[in-house]
Subunit: 123 residues, 2 copies
DNA sequence: GACGCCGGTAACCGCAACGTAACCGAGGCG
DNA sequence: CGCCTCGGTTACGTTGCGGTTACCGGCGTC
């Protein structure tokens, strides 16, 4: 475990959560980002995604596994240890994801300004 | 009106509707694609999106207008004529959208294959 | 006078996604 | 014995997106 995951990667105030882009279901993109550098355990993923219930996180992970984006490896130990890791196919998503994030970094201020203008015009 | 819109751009069997990427709400990306070459009228947009009700299309267009992606121009005529057009900000979305579509074109077969494998393993 | 066109709006509704709370089993530990 | 950890599962409630249906005004047309 080289790097612990940040505690609040997904603060709703974070502008990256206001992008018009979405990957898979609501949390899938965040899972992929968390796995980018190294495999992670279930409870490890729950730290930065503390707004997500175990149930929803499980569903998200199953969907990603089904689509070949990640692998699930259960080690036969007690207490149980399960590791999720990106597949090569999962890694191919990053260039497109990065293009989306670059768009957001560059243009989100303009979107927020447009929203303010619209609200002011309506009022 | 140089080019009529294709009749079934959004066939659910079309692989581009199976991508994990989504832009804005469910139909927003499709509206942007329809406006790429030229402005379009409301009923003109309804042709390729015949699966979308007027209400939902209106909501989608309002959201895009609010965010500064498109403009809405109502001409004071009878019968009414309303034209929707991309703004420069809206056009900035295309490079990222194209990256997403390129990913789909390249990797969707692998996703579908992964799904088949998963279904076979579960059964 | 009835009907149609255009670009919607209003009221209602179903369902899937999302969330919450309780519970589980196998083993270690006190 | 009782409680802890990990990685979930199950049952249940809620929320909100998307869809359906009905209706509108103003003018042209039959």
């Amino acid at each position: 475990m080289s790097e612990p995951l940040p505690r609040d990667l997904f603060d709703p105030a974070c502008p990256s959560n206001a992008t018009p882009f979405q990957i898979g279901d609501k949390w899938a993109g965040m899972v992929l980002v968390c796995l980018r550098d190294q495999p992670r355990r279930f409870t490890e993923l729950r730290v930065p995604m503390h707004r997500v219930s175990a149930k929803v996180l499980t569903e998200t992970l199953r969907a990603l596994e089904r689509d070949g984006m990640i692998t699930r490896t259960a080690h036969d130990e007690v207490p149980p240890r399960v590791e999720y890791a990106l597949t090569p196919l999962g890694r191919t998503l990053f260039p497109a994801m990065d293009a989306c994030r670059a768009w957001a970094a560059e243009h989100l201020p303009a979107v927020l300004e447009a929203r303010d203008d619209y609200a002011r015009r309506s009022a």
